[in-house]
């Protein structure tokens, strides 16, 4: 055992001692693990004795989905995998400091003592570390290289004024938008990619493969320098890893309440098609659709929407229609396969007219998709200035887009009872959506389109359901900031980029990405992506097209790099940041006036922000974790059991969800299969009287390459499967928190 590995083991052991509960390790009594019908239980030991804080994984191939249930051992190495469906299981141990133990066949009702395998060296142990530990080995340009002065200066493009702007692109708002960088699939070059003279050439090819080639080339094109920029950095990164470089930090084993977690992993759809979001219930009333079917949104990948029956562990799909199937463009047109994928060759695996990005469920179980229904250039007459709609009169939306336009979506409604679809033809684009707690069941939409199309839209779903009148049910507003400081919205306003008249209000061109209704005051909040990131508040007022006022707040240092967001029931906004933080913005903390001159720049109220560091190592010279959390969801109703209003960020580099409890992160880790990466979270109460068993959080894997997830019977820890049958499909992960590690 080398010194470095011994040190790592010592750190793990020390952390376990520090986290130990008052109960000391004791011999396991028979009554502690009396087998019950649906459980597999036992003790995990290694040559060092009981292994605490390691995972026991029970996996079966007998059910209608991929199925694995995962628990953590307690301080004495004991475990209970509860409530397993009747099937044959392989059971094994995975943990930090270990190599996977041999798989042991078992079945519910059995007791099973498992022998953990101490990893022979640090290299073997590190194969199980989350991606962030490997990603942190990447060498980003030093802070001294910024601002960029161009190819004949310091090489960095002039668009990059600071290092954090660069990091934002190599993390969430660039590469990390779609991929978990650092997992097995990404930190190795797959042999099937081909043979190349250099690793830079291999990466240049890799970034053109599959239907994501256009997006990858466009993103990496910004990051090229005379020395190869980020392309060369990736090549250097994988070269060093291939040569044996290992993470400099060791992940901690689960401690405390983290050991109470029960993870159930299922899958849906197929390895070629990715998802963006999942919905299980009405966020406002999370008992809606208890035990019911779960639905996904597949964005650019396919028109086939996956449906999961988690009660019976079965999956299916349903094809979402478009209103105009002849003329509606497909994602395939904008995402051609330039170079063959090492997994799927030249097959055009993305082909979607629907482009369903996100979805919500209403109080009756209807599902609303932000989805394309028609060609982007087929704009209804009621969107024009001569429309009877007040929103159109004030801010017509007439810009026509030919071909594919990413956010030119409208709304598709699915009624699971009648199994019928209907279309709401919105003038505004749709992206994320959130139902208000109001009498109209108003559905609010972000557009994620900066500039002239930066509006916030809404649909009165009650009116639409009663009348079927899409035009009369919708509205939208430009985002107008009260820069003249008179406390109200006025007719006529400054346009972005024009000299500001201090006597007028000002329109801002920042679009919302995430969007959330604030239950505290009825305002609408959203995140906006331009670096370093902003949050925007929209106060609708009594007649929103005329009265809605916006406020904008820029993320101050040390934070930057925003994507999704949510609001808690007190009106506090929570955001995930790729600076390696969760941050809150509490408007109640603002001390100065929030309107008036300069309010359009977002620099008011820096005192409203608080930052909480995320776990994991950072790049050399960077104090923040090399984590890029994509979305954040607030557990407003205490569904999981960590407390009402618990903010939970997706741990996209960490195979986890990061829950912020008492100012510290509780890591909700998915250790198997490695590569879990979520773009949102939902929570549902199936049975309010059933305690922890009657409630769960749900997330689907949202990376655009589900095939990068650890395969079934993977050829190496974390590795993709080698065949169609063993490659991973998108995951659906259920998170439950029991009162102690052995509860059943």
């Amino acid at each position: 055992m080398n010194n470095r590995f011994a040190l790592a083991i010592a750190v793990v052991v020390a952390s376990l001692v520090a986290a130990a509960t008052p109960h000391q390790a004791q011999p396991v009594k028979d009554e502690d693990h009396a087998a019950t019908a649906g459980n597999i239980r036992g003790v995990v030991t290694s040559r060092f004795g009981p292994e605490a804080g390691v995972w026991v994984i029970a996996e079966t191939k007998d059910l209608g989905t991929r199925f694995a249930k995962i628990v953590v051992t307690d301080h004495s190495g004991r475990f209970v995998v509860p409530d397993l469906p009747k099937a044959r299981y392989d059971v094994w141990v995975r943990g930090y400091g270990l190599a996977d133990s041999p798989k042991i066949a078992s079945e519910p009702g059995k007791s099973l003592n498992l022998a953990a395998v101490i990893a022979p060296d640090l290299a073997a142990a590190a194969q199980y570390y989350p991606a962030v530990y490997w990603f942190s080995l990447l060498r980003a340009p030093d802070k001294s290289k910024f601002p960029g002065t161009g190819p004949n200066g310091n090489g960095i493009p002039v668009e990059f004024k600071s290092q954090d702007q660069w990091l934002d692109v190599i993390k969430t708002n660039g590469c990390g938008n779609c991929h978990q960088l650092g997992n097995y699939a990404t930190r190795n070059i797959p042999p099937a990619l081909g043979h190349f003279d250099s690793s830079i050439a291999a990466w240049a090819q890799r970034l053109q493969t599959g239907p994501g080639g256009t997006t990858m080339a466009r993103t990496m094109g910004r990051l090229l320098t005379p020395d190869g920029g980020h392309l060369a950095a990736l090549a250097d990164w994988t070269d060093r890893i291939k040569a044996g470089e290992l993470p400099s930090a060791t992940p901690p084993r689960p401690v405390g309440i983290e050991r109470n977690l029960v993870i159930t992993v299922r899958d849906w759809l197929d390895p070629k098609h990715y998802l963006h979001d999942v919905v299980t219930t009405d966020r406002r009333r999370p008992t809606v659709n208890g035990h019911g079917l779960i639905y996904g949104a597949t964005e650019l990948s396919t028109d086939q929407i996956p449906i999961l029956d988690a009660v019976n562990n079965s999956k299916t799909t349903i094809r979402v229609p478009v209103r105009d199937p002849e003329a509606t463009p497909s994602s395939a047109q904008a995402n051609p396969v330039f170079a063959p994928s090492p997994y799927f060759g030249s097959e055009q695996v993305w082909d979607s007219q629907v482009n369903a990005h996100s979805l919500v469920m209403d109080q009756d179980g209807r599902i609303y998709f932000a989805a394309q229904t028609r060609p982007p250039n087929d704009i209804p007459a009621y969107c024009r200035k001569d429309s009877p709609l007040r929103s159109a009169q004030l801010y017509p939306l007439e810009e026509r887009h030919e071909g594919v336009f990413q956010n030119a979506r409208q709304v598709t409604v699915y009624d699971p009872t009648s199994k019928k679809f209907s279309f709401i033809d919105t003038c505004f684009g749709t992206q994320h959506l959130n139902l208000a707690e109001d009498a109209d069941n108003t559905l609010w939409f972000s557009t994620n389109t900066q500039g002239e199309l930066a509006v916030v839209g809404w649909v009165n779903t009650n009116k639409y359901r009663q009348t079927g009148d899409a035009a009369a049910s919708q509205g939208w507003t430009a985002l107008i900031v009260d820069t003249n400081g008179n406390g109200k919205r006025d007719e006529g306003y400054n346009e972005p980029g024009t000299p500001l008249d201090p006597d007028k209000d000002t329109r801002i061109p920042f679009a919302l990405y995430g969007i959330s209704f604030s239950p505290s005051d009825g305002s609408i909040w959203g995140s906006s992506l331009p670096h370093p990131g902003y949050v925007i508040r929209v106060s609708p007022g009594p007649n929103p097209p005329d009265t809605a006022l916006a406020e904008i707040y820029k993320v101050p240092m040390p934070g930057y790099g925003i994507r999704g967001m949510d609001v808690d029931r007190d009106g506090v906004v929570w955001v995930p940041l790729d600076s390696g933080h969760i941050a809150s913005f509490d408007r109640r903390k603002c001390s100065g006036p929030l309107n008036g001159p300069g309010a359009e720049r977002g620099e008011k109220c820096p005192e409203g922000w608080t930052f909480y560091p995320l776990p994991g190592p950072g790049f050399v010279g960077d104090s923040g974790a090399a984590e890029n959390p994509y979305y954040l969801w607030v557990d407003q109703h205490d569904i999981l059991g960590l407390g009402a209003n618990t903010p939970i960020a997706t741990g996209n580099q960490s195979d986890s969800l990061h829950a912020l409890v008492g100012g510290r992160i509780v890591e909700l880790r998915v250790p198997y299969p490695m590569g879990f990466y979520a773009k949102n979270i939902d929570g549902r109460i199936d049975n309010p009287g059933a305690g922890w068993k009657g409630r769960a959080l749900w997330a689907t894997s949202g990376n655009r390459t589900p095939v990068h997830i650890e395969g079934i019977d993977a050829p190496a820890p974390g590795a993709p499967g080698n065949t169609d049958a063993t490659r991973s499909s998108p995951l659906v992960v259920q998170f439950q928190l029991r009162p102690d590690p052995l509860a059943y």
Binding site: G150, P151, N152, G155, P157, V158, E159, D197, S198, I200, A201, A204, Q205, L207, Q208, G213, T214, A217, R218, M220, G221, R222, L224, T225, P226, D227, G228, L231, A232, F338, A339
Partner: protein, 154 residues
């Protein structure tokens, strides 16, 4: 000499920006052609400083161009068109490649070494709105080597 080239190039790029923002279409096009031509000439200021190195050009191509272009004879179009035999080719003439509207509307030259020199130094300045505008351009130190490598692939 080097400083003069830098100053001249900056002046010409400023004229191009001025031209493309003009509301007078004919004037704009004429100015673009003149400025682009001058830019390509000035872009060659440093080329005589030393003999172009094809091997160095190949390495620079991999670092900065291969992300979007193939260059072998049988290579496919990617985010950018295949570049085999680009020298002497009419700009925008690869029939199977879908050029950006900006490039199609402005590209009216043949790809000689001077034109390529201007283009790869600052594509987004030469043709605002081009798909290649995401790339900042190559450094002066690499330009002649890359062009020599491109010229060798025919």
């Amino acid at each position: 000499m080097q400083d003069l080239c830098v100053v001249a190039r900056k002046w010409l790029r400023d004229r191009i920006v001025e031209a493309v923002t003009s509301e007078h279409d004919r004037t704009r096009r004429a100015m673009i052609r003149i400025a682009a031509g001058l830019l390509t000439l000035v872009a060659t200021c440093t080329r005589d400083a030393g003999a172009a190195d094809i091997a160095a050009g190949k390495a620079a191509f991999v670092r900065q161009c291969a992300l979007c272009h193939t260059i072998d004879a049988a290579g496919s179009n990617r985010y950018g068109p295949n570049l085999f035999g680009v020298i002497g080719r009419r700009a925008g003439s690869v029939s199977s490649f879908q050029y950006s509207p900006a490039f199609k509307s402005m590209a009216s030259w043949d790809w000689n070494e001077d034109a390529l020199g201007g283009w790869i130094s600052s594509p987004g300045t030469m043709v605002p709105g081009t798909t290649m505008g995401v790339f900042q351009g190559v450094a002066d130190r690499d330009r002649s080597d890359i062009i020599a490598y491109l010229a060798s692939q025919r």
